[in-house]
């Protein structure tokens, strides 16, 4: 009985990858454990092993093919007596991203579907005062933008260094620090032991001693071990010292839910750190903001909590092709103008806000979408000005509902724009539960686009 070999997922968040190399050819006999192929994603290269013994009947996807979606059949294994030609693979070809790279089909040169699997709605930003008119743009992933921000700042200032688990030789657990060890060497790109509490304190002390550390937490969940140093030392030392001491340190890493990693690895810390005076807190959505905000963070003399998102790392955006692109803290970005409702979000919450706005437009509801970009300082002025126009507001975030960022915005609007509100503010948040593992439960534990649409319809009385 012939069996199809499917494109494997190398991580919980992988949706597509490159079939880099076949290590077997049609007709080869393989046994369990033999390496069949090398698969690459933007994070890693992995060897893909055979699970069963048999003969490679037919290779369906040629090596070098990019954008092969997870679970696409890539080869067929046959048993003794079977012939590859007898196997009907037409069904699988429908979902295969490409027929054959020898084919001159132009589609094969780029990702297979016009809409990449995990694409986010990406309307042109309406306002971006930091970018001069006529600036060239280049397409970059958030991951590349973050790396470039670090590399540029490290080139400009010898006291900037990166430390964290797997940042150097492994090239970053999520490949954000790819290439930095090669360029800057082991003195400035430092692998730490698994010691969050300790190395956070060491970095904080190094900042007090005249350096500009960037600390990568593999994820912010692990920074719970170190939260005392972040809050009690980094955030408070300037004040406690009567302004004598600076702690110019940036703490960065993946924040929030990824995919199917359970309760202890899926938590949004936006509201936690946004409460702390003495910290700056950034949570970018786009690659351009990730780059510009990180450069600002590294240069500043205030400790910064920089909340990234694993699911956004691989997303591509247009980034201004400037020598020194920075984004100021405390300035929201209006992603799209609208008249009927103000949608306020940040980080990956923007995905839901923009998707909802797109669908609402089909129903004739015009949403203004604001990306806060930084939560401390928070640009409530832009939100208030928008609400004065739309008279309605819905906030969107993945974090929990109690003491949420949305709750803060809601309170600010009630105190400063009460007379402009035609409906109570609705805060769309993650559900008030630990993150479950089951796929269907996880989806519901997070905020959903439908909930945002529903909330907008409620506040617009539609």
């Amino acid at each position: 009985m012939a069996t199809e070999i499917l494109m494997p997922a190398l991580s919980p968040t992988m949706e597509e990858g490159t079939l880099a190399k076949w290590l077997v050819k049609e007709g080869d006999e393989v046994k369990s454990g033999d390496i069949l192929a090398e698969i690459e994603t933007d994070k890693a290269t992995m060897e893909f092993e055979a699970v069963d013994e048999g003969t490679v009947g037919k290779i369906l996807i040629d090596e070098g093919t990019e954008g092969v979606k997870v679970n696409t059949p890539i080869a067929v294994m046959v048993e003794e007596g079977e012939r590859a030609e007898d196997i009907d693979t037409s069904a699988s070809k429908d979902s295969a991203p490409a027929d054959d790279t020898s084919d001159k089909d132009t589609d094969t040169a780029k990702p297979m579907s016009a809409q990449p699997a995990a694409a986010m709605p990406e309307p042109e930003p309406v306002e971006d005062p930091e970018v001069p008119e006529g600036t060239e743009m280049k397409t970059q992933t958030v991951r590349e933008a973050l790396r470039d921000a670090m590399a540029e700042e490290m080139r400009g200032d010898d006291t900037v260094f990166l430390m964290g688990e797997e940042v150097a030789e492994y090239q970053g657990a999520y490949k954000v620090s790819q290439g930095l060890l090669d360029e800057f060497g082991a003195k400035r790109v430092i692998d730490t032991p698994i010691t969050e509490h300790g190395f956070t304190g060491v970095a904080t002390g190094a900042a007090m001693g005249g350096l500009r550390p960037i600390v990568e937490f593999m994820t912010w969940n692990f920074a719970m071990q170190a939260i005392d140093q972040i809050i009690n030392t980094a955030a408070k030392t300037r004040y406690m010292s009567g302004g004598q001491m600076s702690v110019p340190v940036v703490f960065r890493g993946a924040n929030g839910a990824a995919a199917r990693v359970g309760a202890q690895h899926s938590q949004d810390y936006a509201a936690w750190y946004a409460q702390i005076p003495g910290l700056h807190v950034a949570m970018p959505y786009s690659a351009a903001d990730a780059k510009g905000l990180l450069k600002t963070a590294i240069r500043g003399d205030t400790p910064v909590v920089f909340l990234e998102n694993e699911l956004l790392y691989g997303q591509s955006f247009e980034v201004p092709d400037l020598d020194d692109y920075t984004v100021p803290f405390g300035k929201a970005r209006i992603w799209q103008k609208g008249d009927d409702v103000t949608l306020v979000s940040f980080g990956i919450g923007m995905k839901y806000a923009l998707e909802a706005a797109e669908k609402l437009a089909e129903d004739g509801i015009s949403a203004e979408v604001i990306d806060l970009r930084t939560l401390r300082p928070m640009d409530t002025k832009t939100v208030i000005e928008s609400v004065k126009k739309t008279n309605r507001c819905v906030t969107v975030e993945e974090g929990w509902p109690v003491s949420s960022i949305g709750g803060t915005i809601s309170s600010v609007l009630m105190q400063q724009a009460f007379d402009y509100l035609d409906a109570p503010v609705i805060t769309c948040t993650g559900k008030d539960v630990p993150m479950p593992y089951a796929a269907n439960l996880e989806k519901h534990a997070l905020v959903t686009t439908d909930e945002v649409i529903e909330a907008v319809k409620t506040v617009t009385y539609k």
């Binding site: 006291t159 260094f161 003195k187 730490t192 032991p193 010691t195 509490h197 300790g198 190395f199 956070t200 304190g201 060491v202 970095a203 904080t204 002390g205 190094a206 900042a207 007090m208 001693g209 005249g210 350096l211 005392d228 140093q229 009690n232 030392t233 030392t237 300037r238 004040y239 406690m240 010292s241 009567g242 302004g243 004598q244 001491m245 600076s246 110019p248 005076p277 003495g278 700056h280 500043g300 003399d301 205030t302």
Partner: protein, 329 residues
């Protein structure tokens, strides 16, 4: 408490002994005055006195060079005075006044001095240990040749981050002297009730860190050990641990009922092992100084402390604008 180790006729000069005498006496008189002001309601909150432990900081400061750094816990008044910070500024911080080192915003536990390379003043037990290693990390990175003295108590020695820090400090050869001020009691819990480890410094061996136990009531022994540790660090050999066997005469903080030890235990150490008395005897026995000269020093010291107390009472409270300043760069 180990037996005194210092030889009867130490290899030291009159000037050196007088310097130690002055510095230790300043700390003791300052702390006594702080205790008084606390009783009068001029100092609030927590106030942890250093009385009894003076030889540790004075001996180690004698082993330090210009540019070396120090960081400690909340029992920090002695460390600040020993590294040359102004008693007026320290006392005015205790009273929460504008003239304090942190303009009244830090208090007893949170003072700093960029000028004297004093990095606090930390209120979370053990949190200063990775901070100290981080300061040493900066020195190594910037190749300054500096050494950081990182002080912590026997209580902090049971915190996990201390051992995370030991591991990294040795891994990266950081020039840090870990000074365990073992005053026998973590608040009200004696060392014997906290651990079965026979000694605290030996725990460094698990990470490859050398160290030794030192008679922390003998300023000369402290200084000698400090010099050895500093030499080790400056030679690029990584960290070094000094476990100072010392004793705190006063309570953990001002509100300590002291039920965990007997009055006799405290009295015995004061009488037999007092660090200041020890140097006083060396000065008198060695005929380096007469009673009159020492009395004059006592008076000078009292005058300094009284002036500091006066300044701390007279200095105005910080302006209300200070509430909102120095949170951000």
């Amino acid at each position: 408490m180990p037996a005194a180790k210092s030889p009867k006729k130490p290899n030291t000069s009159k000037e050196e002994l007088l310097k130690y005498y002055r510095e230790m006496l300043l700390i003791r008189r300052f702390e006594e005055k702080a205790g008084q002001l606390y009783g009068m309601g001029l100092i609030g909150g927590f106030c942890h006195l250093y009385i009894g432990q003076e030889a540790v900081v004075v001996g180690l400061e004698a082993a330090a060079s210009e540019g070396d750094k120090r960081v400690t816990s909340y029992r920090d008044h002695g460390h600040m005075l020993a590294c040359g910070m102004d008693p007026k500024g320290v006392m005015a911080e205790l009273t929460g006044r504008e003239g304090g080192y942190s303009k009244g915003k830090g208090g007893s536990m949170h003072m700093f001095s960029t000028e004297k390379h004093f990095y606090g003043g930390h209120g979370i037990v053990g949190a200063q240990v990775p901070i100290g290693a981080g300061l040493a990390f900066a020195d190594r990175y910037l190749e300054t040749g500096g050494v950081t003295f990182t002080y912590f108590g026997d209580g902090a020695a049971n915190q996990g981050q201390v051992y995370e820090t030991y591991n990294m400090a040795e891994l990266w050869d950081l020039p840090v002297v870990f000074v365990i001020e073992n005053n026998q009691y973590a608040m009200g819990t004696s060392v014997q009730r906290s651990t079965k480890s026979p000694s605290l410094w030996e725990r460094g061996a698990a990470y490859g860190i050398e160290g030794e136990e030192v008679d922390g009531m003998d300023v000369l022994a402290v200084k000698a050990a400090g010099e050895k540790a500093v030499k080790h660090c400056r030679a690029g050999k990584g960290p070094y641990i000094l476990e100072m066997k010392t004793y705190r005469y006063r309570g953990h903080s001002m509100s300590d009922p002291a039920k965990y030890r007997t009055r006799e235990e405290v009295q015995k150490i004061r009488e037999e092992r007092d660090a200041i008395e020890h140097v006083r005897e060396l000065l008198l026995q060695g005929k380096h100084a007469g009673e009159d000269e020492l009395k004059a020093i006592d008076k000078e010291t009292k005058d300094i402390v009284n002036a500091a107390a006066e300044f701390a009472r007279e200095s105005p409270e910080p302006s209300l604008d200070e509430l909102w300043t120095e949170i951000y760069a």
